[in-house]
Symmetry: C2
Subunit: 330 residues, 2 copies
């Protein structure tokens, strides 16, 4: 592939002039600039990224480390990030951590080696990862969950409050034995949503012990089993489900047991999705602004990269309840 000196030769100028002309730097004689442009075009010249990055000691690449691209919530986050990054001339390296600290560390390491300009991640909560990031002072923005010791900016959702409101909504609809299906202990969003659930029970004067709580992975199959166990052992009349994938499992369990959402068991789940209005009755959800979170996080990161001053910030966006048939008796 043609190099800058090939272009320089062909245009009859020095490499410095080519560089200046192609980057629109300082003032280059229009005639020379034109010669350079056409020489570059004729040769199909493409500047060598690695060489430029080495010289400039900087790259226009962002790393995005998320749990799983197959989860629609993260996918929407990714899209928000990509749109903003691309508009600013940055590329995105995608990494799936599967919420495993080891994978997360490994990817952070890759990002460090590649000298990416910054990192966006949904932290697993691993302390070593946070330490690594801090040690190299790599610009970082956490999305969906904060980094341990809140190193770095974060873009979060007020899950706890949203969960509380979901429970209050269920209570208003007349449900009395409200259960909760949440994610693994230690995953902050899972714990937050559980805490909000308890807040809601308290606020509704429903007390409630932990017999109505089950945990599983943030996936359909685990949630299906958890729902079965909860339904069989604790006879809840409503369910708060902590994410979209889990909702799939829960609804499947309900269908198999012949229990109709809304009428027999009230259901509210986190995360909206196109299909939630297709089922009968439509699913009441807590909609999170995933795309906006990604976009905001990317903007914050770009600001940091551009050298934005001090104070780590935490932006908490709010989720809102979208009441539909699955939480209405009748």
């Amino acid at each position: 592939m043609a190099t800058i000196s090939d272009v320089a030769h062909r245009a009859g100028v020095s490499t410095a002039t080519v560089s200046r002309a192609l980057n629109g730097k300082s003032t280059v004689d229009p005639e020379l600039a034109a010669r350079v442009q056409s020489a570059a075009a004729e040769l199909g010249y493409r500047p060598n990224g690695p060489a430029r990055n080495l010289r400039k000691q900087a790259t226009a690449v962002l790393a995005l480390i998320i749990s799983d691209v197959e989860n629609p919530f993260f996918t929407a986050v990714a899209r928000g990030v990509e749109d903003v990054a691309h508009a600013a001339g940055y590329s995105l390296v995608l990494c799936n951590s599967d919420d495993e600290p080891a994978k997360e560390r490994e990817y952070i390491d890759v990002a460090l080696q590649e000298r990416v300009a910054g990192i966006l991640l949904t932290p697993t909560g691993d302390a070593d990862s946070a330490e690594l990031l801090a040690r190299y002072a790599l610009p970082v923005v956490a999305v969906d969950r904060p980094l341990p010791d809140s190193t770095g900016d974060a873009v979060l959702v007020d899950s706890r409050r949203a969960a509380e409101q979901a429970v209050l909504h269920l209570a208003e609809q007349g449900y009395r034995r409200i259960g909760c299906l949440t994610g693994p202990r230690g995953v902050l969003t899972a714990d937050d949503r559980l805490a909000g659930y308890r807040d809601g029970l308290r606020a509704a004067g429903l007390g409630g012990s932990d017999e109505l709580v089950r945990r599983s992975e943030f996936r359909a199959t685990g949630a299906e089993a958890a729902a079965r166990s909860l339904l069989a052992e604790a006879a809840p009349d409503a369910l708060l489900v902590a994410n979209n994938a889990m909702a799939v499992g829960v609804l499947a369990a309900l269908a198999e047991l012949g229990r109709r959402p809304g009428r027999d068991v009230g259901v509210v789940a986190f995360d909206d999705a196109p299909w939630t209005t297709l089922i009968d009755p439509p699913l009441t959800v807590v909609a999170q602004p995933a795309y906006d979170m990604g976009a905001l996080a990317a903007r914050l990161l770009l600001d940091r990269i551009a050298g934005a001053r001090g104070e780590v910030s935490t932006s908490t966006l709010s989720a809102h309840l979208v009441p539909r048939g699955s939480s209405t008796r009748g």
Copy 2:
């Protein structure tokens, strides 16, 4: 950040020895190697990727250009790609082309500049893109749709045949006026599925004119409008829908018109998704092996990068029909 010569200094050896020790190259005295290792660890040394890439004239990065990460089909492809790439020590740069040729070209350009080792893409069909790829002899594998002039390997699905079988299935179930909702003209998968639909009608002896065909974008909203128009103007008794996002729109239209899938209108849609079994009746789908396509494509690409010999290959995986309630009268 520490450089290789910092490490060399600290270990009291030359940079060449550090390089060799850290890369496990040739034979390095165990004692020196150990000194290097600990010096590197103490300094938190991370090799400078851009420098290494420049020197080696190669990167361990793959570009993945897909229509849209928010589409579950592409998301599954992406996951398959990432898993294989990661296992081989490659990173993935993610790009959303939104099926716009201009964006596609732009991203190919970025990939070229960054000197990625290879590209995976779901081609928009743009000829300039294909030419660009060919000109620079960049290893490339097309996924889901072939490149124009079949430059490069491709991993496809036999959409046409799958569509045909879907139609035959509907015919067997007794549907007689089978309609088709497909994507934009010129998008190969859209045209293929339409061709398969016509094959199916012919094979079933149903003749059929184009009054039963509608096109829209591969999205829910466009498909919803298209479905309304088709239902109002041509009175089909069954529908073949060319992708998952469109199915959402079609099902919404049906629900609003009070027409029940299966009983009133048979429905088969491309792409399986977790929610398709949650609706009533469950949706009959043509399931595509998206993850496997991504994984296979990545393997083929890595082979090419490793210098695999000649002949461009086209792998056609098969989709299979998953009959469920939406295509059964009753």
